[in-house]
Symmetry: C2
Subunit: 400 residues, 2 copies
């Protein structure tokens, strides 16, 4: 055998590489996005035939305020600049460290950046993503620290009558020691699923980094699917590569909360977790905050830490014609929960959040019971930018 | 609290939903792709301002053969048809069940299908994907069967001097019983990483389905990262959201094979796996076949099953100025390996594969030792379509 012959030739022949033939050498030269030294981003697209290319993203200057004020979630499209070679570019002003999302609009067609392999799915849309700095003091970046394990695992939910999928994070060291860990149940919002906290929320990076810095206790984090009629994230269940929708059947009608004990039972049977109130936390964003609230209200002995991020308070639908028992006698349930003195009820919301009335009602209900919750009001609205920050703050307060 | 008020209004207010405002109601009406009853696919794009929209994918008719013959990996772009409303469409002829990849080319800009949330990354490119039928007799679809767990886990590689990431599949039931399982080490090709067999290879679905049907033994499948200088897949390591490249430093120079015992040691310490030759298999595609071959040649007592899919045989570079001991005395190592009579050496390759000379050399080396390997020659070339099929065939032959 000629076993010493190099075979660089194979590189050119890989069928998928061949399939990726560049359309033009000028296209091949483009790198996008580029994070510049001053934390501005340059986005580029080679599109000599396009008449108009716009950039839309949650880092764009709103245009109506001072240059250092970026609207949260401002996706107002901005025209990119075309050069003589057919390259369109736009460089933003310097940005705050953050995990940003964007799209390009090419003659009216909204696309992800073809040169950027990093995308996230949010409900039924894909966005290109770029990490500027580390985001909230570096917590969103993968660093050279011990890493936890992320599992996609299926459990049986007899209450839902389905096999269902969840994401489970175990901290670095879980595989090599015999310790039992406290556990955080971390719930997503409407239209997304058990992928969301990991993919959009950078939960893995936040936990790895905070645990490595000694700022958060090592914990197991369970991220179930909150759409009770759904087995798993789109494409991961037996219904195939379906179109994702915002709202699934049985949304916020009591059925997810009713089936929640199936999740706790599976987790406490399967993983080395501590099984008492002192070592259980529950938190969620938007619909997940709503779920967390009602699960805690209906199980007042179960959770010592409750995190409500941009939380909904009002249910969305009835279970058939009936109001679920989950949502009955709520005032009484607030009284009972507060009497049991959970160590922390932590509330976070943006000042522009459309759920601010829900926030008022939630705090009024706790005030009525003279319960001293923690409250963080931030800039911006109903966005992952806030929820990543809330998670980063909340997990540092747990199990201490 | 007005807890009985429905709040459908929130749907319209979710900031990211608002960000996803449709550009036009006609765009909002489009569903793409659609798999039709006859297994043809219809791809659609709303692009009234585009002058030319083409479709490129590995399902396109080569155009030079009979209509029932599809070239493997034929990405020859085909012009789509524009209607009066600005909608471009193309319907393929009926296709064989398969997990297909495609892109659209809009006035020269190659994009993923904006209406299709399902994409895969292959090296530095993203493709839209569509599953027609189940692929190889339904094995590529998620079915209503018991599902295994997929983990992304980090291990210490003292030989590489890095923390590194691997994907580990454990079969349904692993968490709830005390059995020990046989283990398959499954290696990827050049330019991809520990995500590839799961994302492009549908390994999770293939294993879940074959185990549920009783056609494969329940087994643990370990999918490490074969780029020894790399911690993890792009974006998952501490170097950040880097640009993916085809070839990483220390590719096929002996260093991955040398560090492979770190992987076995971690797996046998961490998971309930059987630790003898009879219960170990190793397989890989292209560079991963090369790795599998040399790991087996250098560890002739370790693996009872060896799978070489479109395998390279010749190394690519030296470890510095020196030829690694891994690649020395190869004829002798073939002799030793064959004398140890591994139960199965399984070779699969496409008739159009550019590595057919490597395949000839490999079989000649085994023939010289009168070793009776299994050999499958299929249509097509160096493609995931073949590798998914080879995996589906190979795993049915293991540990029986």
């Amino acid at each position: 055998m000629k076993r010493f012959v190099l075979f660089f030739a194979c590189l050119a022949s890989f069928s998928l590489v061949a399939a990726q033939e560049v359309l033009n050498w000028k296209d091949n030269e483009i790198v996008s996005p580029i994070v510049n030294e001053d934390n501005s981003i340059t986005i580029s697209l080679f599109a000599p035939n396009a008449e108009k290319v716009e950039l839309t993203g949650n880092f764009l200057y709103a245009g109506k305020d001072t240059p250092d004020k970026y609207a949260d979630g401002d996706w107002h499209p901005q025209l990119m600049n075309k050069d003589a070679n057919g390259r369109w570019t736009l460089t933003t002003p310097p940005l705050k460290p953050e995990f940003y999302s964007y799209n390009l609009i090419v003659d009216g067609v909204k696309i992800t950046d073809p040169k950027n392999i990093y995308t996230v799915r949010d409900i039924g849309n894909r966005y290109s993503v770029v990490l500027v700095g580390g985001g909230v003091d570096g917590l969103y970046a993968v660093k050279n620290v011990p890493h936890g394990t992320v599992r996609k695992v299926w459990y049986d939910s007899p209450t839902a009558g389905l096999q269902r999928r969840m994401t489970v994070y175990t901290p670095a060291g879980y595989e090599s020691n015999k310790r039992s860990y406290p556990v955080l149940y971390l719930l997503h919002g409407m239209g997304v699923d058990e992928e969301a906290w990991e993919e959009l929320g950078r939960a893995t990076q936040i936990l790895d980094n905070l645990i490595a810095e000694g700022k958060a206790e090592p914990m197991v984090v369970v991220m179930p699917n909150g759409n009770i009629s759904q087995e798993a994230a789109p494409g991961e269940g037996s219904k195939g590569l379906v179109v994702a929708t915002t709202q699934y059947p049985k949304t916020m009608d009591g059925n997810f909360e009713k089936a929640f004990p199936d999740i706790i039972q599976f987790v406490e049977k399967t993983y080395r977790v501590k099984k008492d109130k002192a070592n259980r936390a529950i938190a969620g964003l938007s619909m997940g905050g709503f779920h967390s609230l009602y699960i805690a209200l209906n199980n007042p002995n179960s959770f010592n830490y409750i995190g409500l991020f941009s939380s909904a308070v009002n249910r969305m639908s009835k279970d058939g014609d009936t109001l679920s028992y989950i949502y009955k006698n709520v005032d009484e349930k607030f009284k009972t929960l507060c009497k049991k003195s959970p160590k922390l009820i932590w509330i976070g919301i943006g000042k522009d959040d459309f759920l601010s009335k829900d926030d008022d009602r939630l705090r009024a209900a706790l005030d009525k019971e003279s319960y001293k919750y923690s409250y963080l009001k931030t800039k911006g609205g109903h966005s992952w930018r806030n929820w990543r920050e809330y998670l980063s703050t909340f997990v540092q307060k747990l199990f201490k």
